[in-house]
């Protein structure tokens, strides 16, 4: 086992341990923090695969974006003495049983599958390449999804505003 493999095992262990902690802790903000560690370790895996751009995206979007939003909304809605409703033992066992069974089936299937692997040269992913793929309208181009995502974000914003909007408009103007 060399340095490289040790690193993978370390990252994988972080991901697994904290993933379990995310769903078992009884404090919501701790769950968010554990999720942060999971996402950071995933970014580490991308980095380990020498895919730095994806690693940075993972950190910026998930750790720096989504977890911050989760934590922010917890801060607005949740107080420190609140605890999540504890789950009965039978439910816990059931959930773990089903999740474990699902994981087992997936793992066995994936491990037994004979992936069509071939050694490939390391791709150089520079900004220019990424940019060109994003605006490419041909095969393997991502111009259309890129634009549709913008509509998706717009719709999500409108949806969020609809739910959060004040009921009375004439109350006060800040």
């Amino acid at each position: 086992m060399n340095f490289h493999e040790t690193f993978f095992i370390l990252l994988a262990a972080i991901i697994m341990i904290f993933s379990v902690l995310v769903v078992t802790t009884d404090k919501i903000l701790r769950a968010a923090t554990y999720l942060l560690f999971v996402l950071l370790a995933t970014a580490g895996l991308y980095y380990w695969l020498q895919y730095e751009f994806m690693a940075a995206v993972q950190v910026a979007l998930y750790a720096g974006g989504i977890v911050v939003l989760i934590v922010f909304s917890v801060l607005l809605t949740h107080q420190i003495h609140h605890k999540l409703v504890s789950i009965t033992l039978t439910r816990k066992l059931l959930a773990f049983g089903i999740a474990g069974l699902g994981a087992l089936v997936s793992i066995v299937t994936i491990v037994n599958y004979d992936f069509n692997t071939a050694p490939a040269e390391a791709m150089k992913v520079d900004v220019r390449q990424i940019g060109l793929h994003l605006v490419n309208t041909g095969h393997n181009g991502f111009a259309l999804p890129f634009e549709v995502v913008s509509i998706l974000l717009l719709a999500a914003l409108i949806g969020a505003i609809t739910i959060a909007k004040k009921e009375e408009s004439n109350s006060d103007n800040i």
């Binding site: 903000l29 730095e52 940075a56 995206v57 950190v59 750790a63 720096g64 911050v68 939003l69 520079d126």
Partner: protein, 358 residues
């Protein structure tokens, strides 16, 4: 001349001769880690000293002048004091998160230093997405602040954290967008490439008006992103005691303090690297004599000279402008900086396509 990589290469060869590959990697990691940690600590102490001197200068005082010559050892004494102070623990605080928060903040600021090119070859890791890496890591720091505010179980901390969260999330956009302008010019996010591209002139001169606008926006937005005055509503002493770190004491408080100064250093260093040529000397194409003279000044002097000039400007901001209200702060970002920035980005795209830069 002044190429750091010769030195690092020599050390590397020496290690390779005597150790196997895994050990080489570990020894080098330790060496680099020690070097950067030391630098981090020294820079932090220097910045605190500088802040107090600048503040004193503006307020017509002398500032620290008792411990050591010119008060130079004052911050070291402060550090020792902080190290010996009792670590207070708030009852009913979430202990795990309370203790974790300062580390997130300080690690996030520490991780970014490694990607900065201090001089030619003096860079811990030259990622091909260096700029993006720095942007993404800095966005982690806010998590520490949010966690600190919530886990302290104190209203001041919570309010400070909420304000800080809203502020940092907003201003991050402007920071990233203004850096994007230079990425469009260079076509690369690798910091060493960005510095090399300024060998015949810094971007702030080569890219003229639009880059100057980006530079100004970056300076304003990064000041806000580091929670410094006049954008320091997150810790506004007069209303929130000390904001998100009200409940912290001793070395944990020092971590927040240190991280704030190092983030300021990072913003200044990033601005210097991206807009002002980093360690690149001041060159004017055509004036060979001048260029030769400039080349004699070591790159590391250039880098720190530019960075500390910018830090001085950021400190002037803090001590001269009044603090903004939270709504003014968000208005500034969302209604002024961001639209200007977006238009500016389009202008720059146009400039780049037409080749209207030097």
């Amino acid at each position: 001349m002044y190429d750091f990589s010769q030195l690092t290469q020599a050390i590397h060869l020496f290690l390779v001769q005597h150790l196997n590959s895994s050990s080489v990697a570990i020894v080098e990691l330790v060496l680099v880690g020690l070097l950067f940690l030391t630098m981090y600590a020294i820079l932090g102490l220097t910045l605190v000293y500088m802040e107090r001197k600048v503040c004193a200068f503006i307020q017509n005082r002398l500032g620290p002048n008792r411990v050591g010559p010119l008060g130079l050892l004052q911050t070291v004494a402060d550090l020792i004091k902080l190290l010996f102070k009792e670590l207070l623990m708030v009852k009913k605080a979430d202990k795990f998160l309370f203790n974790l928060a300062p580390f997130i903040v300080v690690i996030a600021s520490m991780m970014t230093i490694g990607a900065l090119p201090f001089a030619k070859g003096f860079q811990a890791i030259d990622l091909n997405i260096g700029l993006f890496y720095i942007i993404s890591i800095t966005s982690l720091g806010v998590l520490g602040i949010l966690l600190a505010g919530w886990s302290s179980n104190s209203k001041y901390s919570l309010l400070g954290a909420l304000r800080s969260g809203a502020q940092i999330i907003s201003y991050e956009l402007s920071v990233s967008l203004s850096l994007l302008s230079i990425i469009m010019f260079t076509g690369s996010m690798q910091l060493s490439v960005i510095v090399e591209s300024q060998a015949n002139g810094w971007w702030i001169f080569k890219g003229h008006i639009p880059v100057f606008i980006s530079f100004l926006i970056f300076l304003i937005a990064s000041t806000a992103e580091t929670n410094r005055g006049p954008f320091d509503i997150a810790e506004a002493e007069s209303e929130l005691t000390a904001g998100f770190h009200t409940e912290y004491s001793g070395i944990k408080f020092a971590f927040f303090f240190l991280a704030e100064y190092m983030n300021m250093f990072l913003s200044a260093a990033l601005a210097a690297t991206v807009f002002l040529g980093g360690w690149m000397p001041f060159h004017v194409s055509g004036f060979e004599g001048l260029n030769q003279v400039m080349d004699f000044i070591p790159p590391i002097v250039w880098f720190f000279g530019k960075t500390f000039t910018l830090i001085y400007v950021i400190m002037l901001f803090k001590w001269t402008f009044p603090r903004l209200r939270v709504d003014q702060l968000l208005t500034l970002e969302w209604k002024y900086l961001l639209p200007i920035n977006l238009v500016n980005t389009i202008v720059i795209a146009f400039v780049v396509v037409m080749g209207w830069y030097f």
